[in-house]
Amino acid sequence: MVFSGYLFFILSFIAIYAALKVLLSKSPMHSVLYLTLAFFAIGGHYILLNAQFLAVVHIIVYAGAIMVLFIYTVMLLNLNVAGEFPKSKMAKVASILAGGLLMLTLVGIFRSYDLKVIADPALNQIGLVKTLGKVLFKDYLLPFELSSILFLAAMVGAVMLGKKDIY
């Protein structure tokens, strides 16, 4: 079982590489496909934490629905034009510098904080569907019902925004 010790680093490397290629690709279609790869790697991380329900829901929702919507949009509107939008070099350098400083700040915050860890993540039972379902339907029932109303509003809004003769 030497392999499982390195699984975290393999998945992290794949996710960060795919995220960088999302930004560095010339064609939007390639960006969408690299983002799908990043989502699969993050789903693997959920399985490492024994968050089984979240891993499956993540793959179904993100890789299965959201990325398919993006691919539909790119293909139906012919948005697969490559390299049409050059930005000034100064703005790119400034943004990357700002991003690097943000990363340093976040890392510095968490270096000085003493994290107490109670449990081994691979052995916990709270990620199972049964346990999570009990908590969801007992303590968090109201947000669960409100999220169905949110979905209804989003559906109505999306259909209305898609109509051609809206005026």
Partner: protein, 102 residues
């Protein structure tokens, strides 16, 4: 097998979040900006799930579930808006779509 320290998850999710932030700032294609926003949401999701697993508290994973709900609804509306904008102006370059700027 050694337990991965929680700090490694914090570094990894901060890296993903910063890549998303740089994507929103640098790119001019509205679709790629939207994808960077999804990347940021995912990094926050993973960090919440990691803290929940390390502290044996299911509330973190429930919160991730609701964040996924909101992200799915937001993608539907955002892509509908993008299609509508593209229909009227035939571009998704945000330097052209700057009518709301001062």
């Amino acid at each position: 097998m050694q337990v991965i320290p929680l700090e490694y998850y914090i570094f990894f999710c901060s890296a993903l979040f910063v890549i998303g932030v740089v994507g929103v700032l640098v790119k001019r294609n509205a679709l790629v900006i939207f994808m960077s926003i999804e990347l940021m949401l995912n990094s926050a999701n993973l960090l919440l799930a990691a803290f929940s697993a390390y502290n044996n508290d299911p509330a973190g994973q429930i919160f991730v579930f609701f964040i996924m709900v909101v992200a799915a609804a937001e993608v539907a509306i955002g892509l509908a808006l993008l299609v509508m904008i593209y229909r009227s102006t035939h571009t998704i370059d945000i330097n052209v779509l700057n009518k709301l700027k001062w």
